[in-house]
């Protein structure tokens, strides 16, 4: 057992999978010599060399497309997008190529790759270093989209993604990188189910559905409310955004009758829309109250100046507020 951060869990997962399977390779901007702008690939260039840790040209489209081709040819690419904000040049590669290759070829051609994408705000990054953009891909069948919210998942889901026979987009929240630590078992067989949500905290009064950094905020809010009022909030960590594990949150809702969805992405067509819509369709009789979404407001992106960013982002206080109102409905 060792106490590790979210980001070192990522590095470890990459290292272990690269040692385990020589078909695994990394490609992206600054991933090699520099070890990544956040140091997620630190040390891998030294261990595996320039052939397996490729500093690509500044072109996200070719980073992903080259990975698609290499995956078709039997390798296991782990491309990286430095910031989710810069994923647009790879939009075609992801949505028209990777997502549809298996389908359009009737299952005869596939491209199992794992795209790591750094996303999220709250670190003063402003409009173009804070975006989420998961909706674009959660909306695309054929892609698996995961977003680990714990250190154990950061490791186990990345390893599982690399071994998965589908294109996976792995969204890692930059604010989690160094802010959370967990004890993790050593050894390279620490692989997590990619397709199941997880109940992170049990409770009978309200189902709080979230993922990523807001999972941490939600857990804090739940503890706080418990301490203050005795309320028992069940916190569901989505973990996978596409295809969604509906059962976990619907089972919880069947128990609690109330649902609060929290995410950092803005409201309209954020993943919360789908969660709410599923609940309103498949668990209507379970509902004792409106389904509430606590999200960023519908503005183009996280503005830079501190008070604006604060206004934009969910916080423990905002969650407590929304949950309290919903409990009192």
């Amino acid at each position: 057992m060792a106490l590790v951060t979210y980001i070192s869990a990522i590095t470890e997962a990459l290292r272990e999978e690269m040692r385990r399977d020589e078909r695994v390779f990394i490609i992206g901007e600054d991933v090699g010599v520099e070890g990544g702008v956040f140091k997620a690939t630190k040390g891998l260039y030294e261990e595996f060399g320039a052939e397996r840790v490729i500093d690509s040209p500044l072109a996200e489209g070719v980073i992903v497309s080259a990975a698609i081709g290499a995956a078709m040819a039997g390798l296991k690419p782990v491309p990286e997008i430095q910031f989710s904000d810069f994923i647009t040049p790879a939009m075609d590669a992801l949505t028209q190529q990777a997502a549809k290759l298996r389908y359009r070829s009737g299952g005869t051609q596939t491209c199992p790759l794992t795209l790591r994408v750094c996303y999220g705000g709250g670190v003063g990054g402003g409009l173009y270093h804070s975006q989420t953009n998961t909706t674009w891909f959660a909306h695309e069948p054929g892609l698996v989209v995961v977003a680990p919210g714990t250190v154990a998942d950061a490791k186990g889901m990345l390893k599982a993604a690399i071994r998965q026979d589908d294109p996976v987009i792995y969204f890692e929240h930059k604010k989690l990188y160094r802010s959370i630590k967990e004890d993790l078992p050593d050894g390279d067989d620490f692989v997590t189910d990619l397709f199941k949500a997880a109940v992170r905290r049990e409770g009978k009064d309200l189902t709080l559905v979230t993922y990523g950094w807001t999972l941490q905020l939600s857990l804090q809010a739940a503890e706080k409310m418990h301490a203050e009022t005795g309320a028992e909030i069940e916190v569901v960590d989505l973990r996978v955004l596409n295809p969604l594990d509906k059962d976990t949150f619907l089972e919880s809702l069947a128990k609690t009758g109330r649902m609060l969805i929290v995410h950092e992405d803005h409201k309209t067509l954020g993943i919360g829309a789908e969660i709410a819509a599923i609940a309103a369709e498949q668990a209507f009789d379970c509902l004792d109250a409106p389904i509430v979404r606590l999200t960023a407001p519908d503005v183009p992106a996280i503005p830079f100046s501190a008070p604006l960013e604060k206004f934009y982002l969910p916080s423990v206080e905002k969650i407590v507020d929304a949950a309290t109102k919903l409990l009192n409905y």
Binding site: R52, S65, G74, D92, Q97, R102, G106, G107
Partner: protein, 354 residues
């Protein structure tokens, strides 16, 4: 770095150290071209007869470019076709019945009836199933080439695109990346002067697309794309370079599509005179004259090829016509490595537990 090969030279005279082209190869080049033509003209008739629907983009008039570049590829080599490269699958060796099952969107087509007629892929021969996005196949083929380099084998990739495709960023990103890593890939640009209704002059300021290779640090060459011998020789050199690990080549084949962009396009935007001028440069007739000059051609030989091939076509079309269409519910298959049928067809309903 761009050079031009524009005249029909005597194929027997070796240039740049490339070996003599054998008579058998010369005949094979011709025979393959005429088969491609016969195949596509048949497909066009079938389309007019409503035997199949959807988008089909005939390469009639451009056979020399496809045949000259694809004819000698190995099974292990990869082809990245664009929308007008249905025939490259055939040249690489795909079975005709598979190709017609595909055109007819049957259950037993390689893609199980999912892709448009023009988008024929074939996994056993490493023909990438195309998407419509112009130039995307270049980037994917580049990835295959990267894998081949990493695996240290000498397989290569050949990726096709048109003049119009050169305007897209994807085209640029692929060539640039291939250049940086000296990848084993050949980019074949079939410059047929038009991208749908848009003339080359509105596509790019330069008349020769091969000059664009200079931006990526590898050779670009313009070749008379209606001269199959010239194309073949240029392709052989590019392929050999790639196999030797010496990096990519951009081959611009100047050619022309005889018909509309797709089967529903009357192509009124073109001057009929321009069309006639190019039809007079028919690559098949040209090669016929060339073979004739070498005493390698006879009308009977040609008729034999055409007749034999027509029989093959009849048989393949028969199979396709007899084949079943997919069941609607199969639309739910091949989304992921696991099935989603149950999830879609039988959504659970939840009741309160409390």
């Amino acid at each position: 770095m761009a050079t031009k090969v524009k005249e029909i030279v005597d194929a027997a005279a070796p240039t740049n150290g490339s070996p003599l082209i054998s008579n058998d190869k010369l005949k094979q080049l011709y025979a393959t071209m005429i088969k491609c033509r016969t195949l596509e003209e048949r497909a066009r008739v079938l389309f007019k007869q409503s035997k199949f629907t959807g988008n089909y983009y005939a390469a009639v008039g451009q056979e020399a470019a496809a045949v000259g570049t694809a004819i000698d590829l190995r099974v292990e080599d990869t082809i990245g076709p664009s929308h007008r490269d249905f025939i490259t699958g055939f040249i690489k060796g795909a079975p005709l019945d598979k190709m017609f099952c595909h055109l007819f969107a049957r259950e037993n087509s390689p893609d199980k009836g999912r892709s448009s007629p023009a988008h024929f892929g074939y996994a056993p021969l490493n023909v990438i199933t195309p998407a419509s996005t112009i130039a995307a196949q270049l980037n994917i083929a580049t990835g295959v080439a990267l894998a081949n380099k990493m695996k240290k084998n000498d397989n290569i990739a050949v990726a096709y695109s048109g003049d119009g495709s050169t305007s897209l960023g994807f085209w640029h990103e692929a060539l640039n990346f291939a250049g940086v890593h000296d990848l084993p890939i050949v980019f074949v640009c079939q410059n047929n002067l038009w991208a749908e209704s848009v003339n080359l002059q509105f596509q790019t300021k330069v008349p020769d697309i091969s000059v664009k290779a200079a931006a990526y640090g590898f050779p670009g060459i313009t070749v008379d794309g209606n001269d199959v011998v010239a194309v073949y020789r240029v392709a052989q050199e590019a392929i050999a370079r790639a196999r030797r690990g010496q990096g990519p080549t951009l081959i611009e084949c100047k050619t022309y599509r005889w018909y509309g962009h797709s089967e529903i396009d009357p192509a009124k935007y073109r001057d009929p005179e321009e069309v006639e001028r190019w039809k007079a440069k028919d690559p098949i007739a040209g090669m016929e004259r060339y073979l004739m000059g070498k005493g390698l051609f006879s009308a009977e030989w040609k008729q034999g090829i055409v007749d034999g091939f027509n029989k093959e076509l009849d048989a393949a079309i028969e199979i396709a016509e007899q084949s079943a269409l997919p069941q609607g519910v199969e639309a739910l298959d091949h989304v992921y490595s696991f099935s989603i049928r149950e999830r879609v067809l039988e959504p659970k309903v939840y009741e309160p537990e409390y």
